[in-house]
């Protein structure tokens, strides 16, 4: 973390990567050269991307400054780690990945400007980035106009399917329906109170949740939205006490999270008693850092990845992540999804045998990744990922204990019929 905030990090890293290259065994270098020779740059790059005989340039576009830096830092770290690991394995089509990092500064027009720069000036073969829906919406026309490829890591509201974006996080129905099914089946929940920050993702998600709750024949007793950054939740907590729902379905984001859970605890709602039970889709391990594990204890979260997953892929990933970024770092759902980006891109490029965006796009559907920390993932034709949804139970140490996971991969369905 500290390192990320030092200036010129990218330069330092680039130097390290170069050093790493020097240190590579000669045999490997030879094999690389032969690979590169086998696939001449003219063959793998027919559209003028920044590809040379031994390098390929990609972009990382996240907020390093401003309010969103809190959330996006983890994604940057994950993407850097993935790129370094890929480079250490010999790169993509024998070419080392060089990245250009740009700061979106939590400002959507800046995102648009920087994405244009990455595509037009740097000729990036792929861009890993964006976090909020607003930043994605801002860059989307740019990617479509200049035919770039964006790997977008965040769980989001759906209602979108662009040929120029691969969505490595879950879309809303994947996250929501499994969570609500679980809570009604195992916890016998009958009534829900929906709460969210006031913007598109919580509103769309709650809309899907409400439709699903209606379908199950259960009741929504309240639905509330507060402005981003709101810090006093006592009134809504009183309303919750009055309505006595079985489940508080909370999609509060950012700094408001901290205020909400602290005030919930202080108002005498002990989440470990599960009356009401708190189910969230917006609090990852990253957010718990700010909230404090003891204030989050007992809440449930529905998402596809938790740091505590015990499969070997994840154990290796967590170890590598901690080795790279420090022992006290935590990994949340989005961080893992961001980590998938470079690997999915590598797989697509190798399948296509080309860096050309159109060929990478054509190669992407049904692409499989068996090494993902979350387990096996597959790209759907709609550019979203098939994934499992898991329920985590928050522990006082700031980690989630996985108490349930769906048996099968859930099909992504960004335009859910009957939920709009």
């Amino acid at each position: 973390m500290q390192k990320l905030n030092k200036s010129g990090l990218s330069n330092v890293l680039r130097r390290n990567i170069l050093k790493g290259m020097m240190a590579l065994p000669a045999a490997m270098l030879v094999s690389q050269l032969s690979l590169a020779a086998a696939m001449s740059t003219a063959d793998v790059n027919t559209t003028g991307l920044a590809v040379t005989d031994d390098t390929v340039k990609v972009g990382i576009l996240h907020s390093i400054t401003g309010t969103m830096a809190i959330s996006e830092t983890g994604s940057v770290q994950a993407e850097m780690l993935a790129i370094e690991q890929i480079n250490a394995m010999g790169g993509v089509l024998g070419r080392q990945i060089e990245y250009v990092q740009e700061d979106g500064a939590s400002d959507w027009p800046t995102f648009a400007e920087k994405s244009k720069k990455l595509l037009v000036k740097d000729k990036a073969a792929a861009v890993f980035g964006c976090w909020t829906s607003a930043s994605r919406k801002a860059v989307l026309p740019v990617f479509e106009q200049y035919n770039g490829m964006l790997y977008y890591p965040t769980f989001y509201e759906g209602l979108e399917q662009s040929p120029n974006v691969i969505y490595t996080g879950q879309e809303a129905t994947q996250q929501i329906i499994a969570g609500i099914d679980w809570v009604t089946k195992t916890k016998d929940a009958k009534s829900f109170f929906l709460l969210g920050s006031d913007y598109i993702w919580p509103r769309t998600s709650n809309k899907i949740a409400r439709k699903h709750i209606d379908k199950l024949g259960l009741k929504v007793v309240g639905e509330e939205y507060y402005p981003l950054g709101h810090t006093s939740f006592n009134s809504v907590i009183n309303k919750i006490k009055l309505k006595k729902p079985d489940v508080i379905y909370a999609i509060v984001v950012g700094g408001s999270n901290v205020a909400f859970y602290k005030q919930l605890k202080a108002a005498g709602i002990d989440m470990t008693k599960e009356k009401p039970l708190v189910l969230t889709i917006s609090v990852t391990e990253d957010e718990i850092l700010g909230i404090g594990g003891e204030n989050m204890q007992g809440a449930y979260a529905a998402m596809k990845y938790f740091q505590s997953l015990t499969n070997t892929n994840n154990q290796e990933f967590v170890a590598a992540f901690k080795k790279r970024w420090g022992d006290d770092i935590v990994i949340g759902d989005v961080t893992q999804a961001a980590y998938l980006g470079p690997w999915l891109w590598k797989a697509a490029v190798e399948k296509a045998g080309s860096f050309d965006i159109d060929k990478v796009r054509a190669a992407s559907p049904n692409l499989e990744l068996t090494t993902a920390p979350e387990g096996y993932v597959k790209v759907h034709e709609n550019h979203h990922l098939w994934s499992k949804t898991r329920i985590g139970h928050a522990l006082p140490n700031g980690q989630y204990e996985v108490v349930y996971e769906t048996e099968d991969l859930i099909e992504p369905n960004p335009f859910p019929k009957g939920y709009q």
Partner: protein, 405 residues
């Protein structure tokens, strides 16, 4: 109008240095388009849209002493009006066939709206839109102005209230996302009356239109600044009560100049939407509004040309700095704020006037020695005589007025 005061102060009757405007025109119209590729030029065009706001601020704040921290509201309103028109054009039934209600903007469909809200309807018309781009912000500014200035709210209080208005409007736009696009803003704008605004040729053309409009605003502002109204504004800034005692309706002048500032900002906003291709509530908030004030301050709050240069300089620095050292950029920006306020209250224009212009005069223009440049005025603030704080300050203001900058 100005016939009565023919014996105006020397500084106002001094001839305009047209060559400076010519220089700016040459830089913007010839040098930059030749030197930069379309990507960078488009960026410059984007920055120049902020310069509209800065020019308005020179009139309001530099001349009139009205510091508005809500100029982003007008920039945003102008931009939103244009964006609504473009969005309606982009949401034709064919392009939105997959929606449950084709023919309405996508974000409305996501929010279960099944028909276009009434206030969106007129934005199908280009002429209405072009009118609304100016009229909506100006009417809004007029309402604020009437409410505030006739009640003699000024100075610090005005600044804080405009800030609150910016906050209200941001929450409102974000909250009413079915009607406004919410925090995402209105995105994915493609064509303007059938003409693709995203192509290179369109961007070149838009850039030149932008520069032309900028000069129109510059000249309008120059005219206002140099006619009697401009002198009255300065008089009001320095001693509002005396102007009032002289029989002028102070409030109406303030309202007028505030509306002009709003109109400039709105033009900037509309050009922003056209050049960048979307509009977002992040322009309506407090932070961009204050940043726009600092563009103006860096250029020199009294200088129209300074405002343009200041905007360009700060934004260029921001882009290049944040590309290489995103962390350092905030330190640099903060230091710039403090430095400009503490050390160079007259900004670039002040530096030019104190250091470069005398040198010019000395070596090039010897025969015109009589026309020395106006000395920068150290005090810029209106101090409404109502608050005790201000009253104690204003006594010291008068003492310090003779102190050179």
């Amino acid at each position: 109008m100005s016939s009565q005061i023919s014996a105006a102060p020397a500084q106002n009757s001094s001839p305009v240095d047209w060559w400076k405007y010519l220089l700016l025109a040459v830089i913007l119209l010839v040098v930059l388009p030749l030197a930069l590729d379309i990507f960078r030029l488009n960026l410059i065009g984007k920055y120049l849209t902020y310069a509209f706001v800065a020019i308005g601020l020179v009139l309001c704040w530099g001349c009139g002493g009205i510091l508005s921290l809500g100029q982003g509201v007008f920039f945003g309103l102008g931009g939103y009006c244009m964006a609504m028109f473009l969005k309606l054009e982009a949401s034709n039934p064919e392009a939105t066939a997959i929606q449950s209600t084709p023919g309405i903007p996508d974000f409305m469909d996501w929010n279960q709206l099944t028909e276009l809200p009434w206030f969106w309807q007129p934005f199908h018309s280009l002429s209405f839109t072009l009118l609304a781009v100016i009229a909506v912000p100006v009417i809004f500014a007029f309402i604020i102005g009437v409410a505030m200035f006739t009640r003699r709210v000024g100075g610090v209080y005005f600044a804080i209230i405009t800030q609150a208005i910016a906050a209200i409007l941001t929450i409102l736009i974000i909250g009413q996302q079915g009607y406004t696009g919410g925090v995402n803003g209105i995105t994915d704008l493609r064509t303007f009356v059938g003409w693709d605004i995203r192509t290179e040729s369109a961007q070149y053309l838009l850039y030149f239109v932008n520069v032309a409009l900028l000069f129109a605003c510059l000249f309008a502002a120059l005219y206002i600044k140099r006619c009697k109204l401009g002198r009255l504004l300065v008089a009001m800034r320095e001693k509002e009560d005396r102007v009032r005692f002289s029989g002028y309706n102070v409030a109406s002048f303030k309202i007028f100049v505030f509306c002009i500032g709003a109109a400039f900002a709105a033009i900037g906003g509309a050009m922003f939407t056209l050049q960048v291709g979307f509009m977002s509530p992040s322009f309506v908030g407090i932070v961009p509004s204050i940043e726009m004030v600092i563009f103006c301050a860096v250029g020199g709050r009294l200088s129209l040309l300074g405002a343009v240069y200041g905007t360009l300089l700060v934004n260029l620095a921001k882009t290049s700095f944040s590309e290489s050292f995103p962390e350092l950029w905030l330190f640099a920006m903060g230091a710039l704020f403090i430095g400009v306020v503490l050390a160079f209250p007259d900004g670039l224009a002040g530096l030019y006037q104190t250091y470069i212009q005398p040198w010019f005069k000395h070596f090039i223009n010897r025969e015109k020695v009589g026309l020395t440049p106006p000395a920068p005025i150290p005090e810029k603030t209106t101090t409404p005589a109502k608050e005790p704080v201000a009253s104690s300050l204003s006594s010291s203001l008068e003492e310090s007025r003779n102190v050179p900058a």
